[in-house]
């Protein structure tokens, strides 16, 4: 076991280029996006001129930067589904270490699945969570996907796409939390489980299936937060919780918009349409009863003010933990069962003989 903490200080990396704006489109958000790209291009040019020709254009740059920020905030106030995808994937969004740093102290990372290897795409460990207003704090297991802060770290962490051993490590630490009678907090931000050769050899399906089964029956409270990309089974594998929270501009989807477009339209460039059709934004998912609460992001999105974003997440997690820790475990498990058991939409055709009349209804548990 190593005690290396992954909650390094927030990086002060330079702002990268804004969200990509490729295909032509007509919506208002898309128009703002094109304008932003243009403004950012001008800022880069002015900076270049300032540096190369020693001209002082800083006042003009400052004006343009204010304009760019206004545009970013305007987009983030009402993003299209595709823009939400871009916000959710924004490279400057807070990372697992930032959230753990805001939520817990004395974090000790626990490595390895005890079977094969340590998967750097998932970070897991124990930390102490202080509760607000003098409430009793608690130890907790903190588990989440680890996107990197730069390309090098992203490669080292496989772009937060776990292998089976990552899910097995997650389950191992969850079982430890159950044993210690302390809650579990999961932080979800992954493009998906890694589609690799060795992942198949070591049972990616089995690892995810096992994680789902164990989370369903884990005898301790679980709070799950989708902080960025909720990429399909690779996200859900650590996503069964008594409370499932979601950052305002995160997404949670059965397949990436690109993958969906490639399969259903046989055209990977129709991702914008797919993003809208799949209904993957936080308000959509709240409407379907898939998530319990939307955590608002600061103006411009989580990347625009990481400190505020991680504090908002930490506050929401503490509040839900406070509620869940008060409940008897049997009631908690029953509620967890009902919560996931209800999700879905089916039509009950009238039986035995009703040729026409169908009624749409949310699923009733049992039969």
């Amino acid at each position: 076991m190593s005690s290396q903490a992954s909650d390094a200080p927030l990086p002060g990396a330079p702002a990268p280029d804004g969200p990509p704006a490729a295909a032509a489109s007509t919506s208002a958000g898309d128009a703002l996006e094109r304008t932003l790209t243009e403004v950012e291009r001008e800022i880069r040019e002015l900076r270049k001129i300032t540096n190369e020709q020693r001209m002082d254009l800083n006042s003009q740059i400052a004006i343009l930067e204010v304009r760019a920020q206004e545009l970013r905030e305007a987009i983030a106030r009402d993003p299209s589904p595709w823009q939400t995808v871009q916000l959710a994937r924004h490279p400057e969004r807070p990372k697992i270490g930032d959230y753990i740093g805001a939520l817990a102290r004395d974090f000790v990372e626990l490595h390895g699945d005890r079977m094969h290897r340590d998967d750097p795409a998932i970070v897991a460990g124990l930390g102490w969570i202080d509760m607000p207003a003098g409430g009793a704090g608690t130890a907790a297991a903190l588990i989440g996907h680890a996107k990197g802060r730069d390309t090098r770290e992203n490669i080292a962490r496989n772009f937060a796409m776990p292998n089976p051993e990552g899910y097995r490590k997650a389950v191992r630490v969850m079982k430890l939390a159950e044993k210690l009678r302390c809650p579990v907090v999961t932080l979800i931000d992954t493009p998906g489980a890694y589609p690799g050769k060795e992942a198949e050899e070591r049972g990616q399906s089995e690892a995810i299936a096992r994680a789902l089964l164990e989370m369903a029956r884990l005898r301790t409270p679980i709070v799950a937060v989708i902080t960025g990309e909720g990429g399909s089974g690779g996200a859900l594998a650590i996503g069964i919780g008594d409370a499932v929270l979601m950052l305002e501009h995160a997404v949670y989807s059965v397949i990436s918009p690109e993958g969906c477009a490639a399969i259903l339209w046989r055209d990977g460039t129709r991702s914008r349409e797919a993003a809208a059709a799949l209904r993957i934004t936080a308000p959509d998912l709240a409407g379907f009863g898939i998530i319990d609460e939307i955590i608002p992001e600061p103006a411009g999105g989580a990347h625009a003010n990481r400190g505020a974003a991680v504090n908002a997440v930490a506050g929401a997690v503490r509040r839900h933990l406070g509620l869940l820790l008060d409940r008897p475990i049997e009631a908690l498990l029953e509620a967890r069962y009902e919560k996931f058991r209800r999700i879905g939409r089916v039509r009950e055709m009238e039986v035995p003989e009703a040729p026409a009349g169908h009624t749409a209804s949310p699923v009733a548990p049992g039969s």
Binding site: A193, Y194, P195, G196, K197, A199, E200, E201, R202, G203, Q204, S205, E206, I208, A209, R210, L212, L213, A216, R217, S232, G233, L236, A237, G239, I240, Y252, S253, V254, I255, C260, I263, L264, W265, A277, L278, R279, I280, D284, L285, F288, I290, R336, Y337, F340, R341, I343, G344, R345, V346, R347, E348, M349, E350, V351, H358, A360, V363, G366, S367
Partner: protein, 306 residues
């Protein structure tokens, strides 16, 4: 349509498209097989052993005691929660699949017996939108698990699915969670769950209930895996070897308990059901059995041109 499928007691909804001809070309060895001979061999190619895909109804007819299947929840049909339209609207895709398969959804669930041993059975229909799991499939599997727990009867699920159903979006993804909570409860009740992986079992179905069985069996040569072959090849930028993601591959890697040839599936499941404490009807005697698979086909005769 084969006459043995007309047996009313096995899922009146079962129907399958097959060439009208007397000869069938094996997709693996390309050999021509007399159709009767193929049926008699449980649709396993007598030349190369290729296991042709079975419909859900055929699967149940093959494995269960003749006439023992009683379907439940057959009235559940898909809704269109996302109002999803790709090249065509989702309800139209569903409608076409229903016409093609005569099934309301991609799974049949009910009660049945094998050699008198009681089970709750679920059989997936790959011909219905690739056996994909949307809300209804998730609901039917969850209800089957709940019935199994209530009646303390082992659950047997025959999977054949490409994974989650995109047209129901994140609701489909959450069916992995829904089936998991129901199966966790079944496990806690101490009731066995036997999972049989048929060709193909991939994606969200493989990554949820299919791999949650206490015992996991597979048919020979089935495609079993998480990610699609093309996706993996694009990701790792190399060709995958032959035999990757097959039943034999997952057995070798320790991921399943056994590969069971189709001819032995009924006997193996019967044995496992008894070993797992299934309630057994002591009055049951051999006779009807899966012999019905062949006997009825032979006696019923054939209607030309159907």
């Amino acid at each position: 349509m084969l006459n043995w499928l007309n047996r009313p007691k096995v899922a009146s909804s079962g129907r399958r498209e097959i060439p009208a001809g007397l000869w069938i070309k094996c997709p693996r060895c390309a050999g021509l097989i007399y159709r009767r001979e193929l049926e008699r061999a449980y649709r396993v190619c007598p030349k190369c052993g290729y296991h042709h895909r079975l419909s859900a109804a055929e699967r149940l007819a093959l494995v269960l005691d003749a006439g023992s299947f009683r379907e439940f929840d057959g009235h559940l049909a898909p809704d269109d929660p996302l109002a999803f339209v790709d090249e065509k609207p989702y309800p139209r895709r569903v409608d076409e699949a229903q016409r093609r398969t005569s099934m309301p959804e991609a799974v049949l669930t009910g009660t049945g017996t094998i050699e008198g041993a009681a089970m709750i059975a679920a059989a997936m229909e790959f011909g219905f939108l690739g056996g994909s799991m949307g809300s209804v499939v998730g609901e039917k599997i969850a209800r089957a698990a709940e019935r199994a727990a209530e009646t303390r009867t082992p659950l047997v699920v025959f999977s054949a699915s490409g994974g989650a159903r995109m047209q129901e979006g994140t609701l489909s993804l959450m069916q992995m969670a829904k089936t998991s909570v129901a199966l966790a409860r079944l496990a806690d009740a101490g009731v066995a769950f036997l999972s049989v992986l048929c060709d193909p079992t991939t994606g969200g179905v493989a990554a949820s209930f299919a791999f949650q069985g206490d015992v996991v069996l597979a048919e020979p040569g089935a495609l079993i895996g998480f990610a699609g072959r093309r996706v993996i090849e694009q990701t790792i930028r190399q060709k995958l070897p032959d035999g990757f993601q097959t039943s034999e591959f997952v057995l070798e890697h320790g991921l399943i308990d056994a590969i069971v040839p189709r001819a032995e599936l009924r006997a193996t499941l019967g044995r496992l059901l008894r070993l797992c404490g299934a309630p057994v009807d002591s009055a049951w005697t051999d006779g009807g059995a899966a012999a019905g698979w062949v006997a009825e086909e032979v006696t019923a005769g054939e209607q030309p041109g159907v």
